[in-house]
Symmetry: C2
Subunit: 207 residues, 2 copies
């Protein structure tokens, strides 16, 4: 059985939990609290030298990290990864877009606002403001694509949608106003309506 | 024939040029000067709404962006992308590591030092210093892997090596001291010794 090393509020971890759930794959869940630096301790660095969750233990002692690499691995041969070479290429394009142009702004703003800036808001105000324009730019790229297509690739729900949904649907928790992006909002509803959808854990909000 | 929209000093573009060369695929080269904001103009945004090079035009009007997505697309069915599912998963892991944990520090420091900070060094000193520790952390992850393996995945040269080589081998241009990483240096030499290797254009140094 797979073991997932994860942190409940993480959107990157949520991607993997959502796909595992939709694939009907059961797994053991192992919590690593990044707020307590649990992913920077020697026992975890032996699992992922890069010190980040999620990590999927494929079999005892065999670890795969990087959320989107895990999505690709799990979705091969399923309807969540297109068979068509060109469509698969566009899935990859969106996965890299997510990690480079979206997550560092949308996800990080949520993390800073709900954790770091809670106690020291002044200290993080400048960095959160720097993330605003590139975050909105990423949302605008999504809006353009989704105003013409029901899903990101090939008119069908895929891991590209899972990867982008994870932090987009909680972008408001990072201070982004999603009402500016009606096509994104409609797509979020379509993703949430997929069979066996799973909600993200609202751990930040609970704290 | 493929058309590559690119900027000569870009390591992300260089990845694609290197693989195309090693695959023996000829292509048309179209320069877009990011220093002149040419990738943020309407004609280019119609090609890539995210406003970044490289973009590969697969056939007239059909564009693929994200350097690592292009590497995956071009390498499918070749020795540059492993057939084995697990090895392929680890290639993906390294490609996402590169874009999330390596490029934003190693590549961006090079860009800032050689372009932005040339005229206004004080203005960029703080941001360059912030990138130092995470950049060295990424190099340390590479060092650990390469001290035990000749290449990043499966003891064989793959697109994972191409993706990480691109900015690692010019990390010194971003102020990183590679002599601390002997296994990385030995690997750089192994990559440069591959058949049909291509050098990156040293356009920054020439300016």
């Amino acid at each position: 059985m797979y073991k997932l090393y994860d942190f409940r509020p993480s959107g990157n971890g949520y991607k993997v939990r959502l796909l595992l759930t939709q694939l009907g794959i059961s797994y053991e869940y192992i919590e690593k609290d990044i707020l307590q630096q649990e992913t920077r301790r020697p026992d975890f660095l032996a699992i992922n030298p890069n010190g980040r969750i999620p990590v999927l233990e494929l079999e005892p002692g065999l670890y795969l990290s990087e959320s989107n690499a895990i999505l690709i691995y799990l979705s091969e041969g399923t309807t969540y990864l297109p068979q068509d070479r060109l469509e698969r290429a566009y899935v990859m394009q969106w996965l890299f877009f997510e990690q480079y142009s979206h997550e560092p702004y949308i996800a990080t703003s949520r993390f800073l606002l709900h954790y770091k800036a809670r106690d020291q808001p002044e200290q993080y105000q400048a960095i959160i403001e720097q993330k605003r324009d590139p975050g909105y730019a990423a949302l605008a790229v999504l809006e353009q694509q989704l105003s013409e297509h029901p899903f990101l690739v090939g008119n069908q729900y895929s891991i590209a949608d899972i990867a982008l949904y994870a932090y987009t649907h909680v972008a408001d928790e990072g201070g982004f106003d999603l009402t500016r992006f009606p096509a994104v909002l409609a797509w979020l509803a379509r993703v949430a309506a997929q069979p066996n959808h799973l909600k993200i854990t609202q751990a930040y909000a609970q704290k």
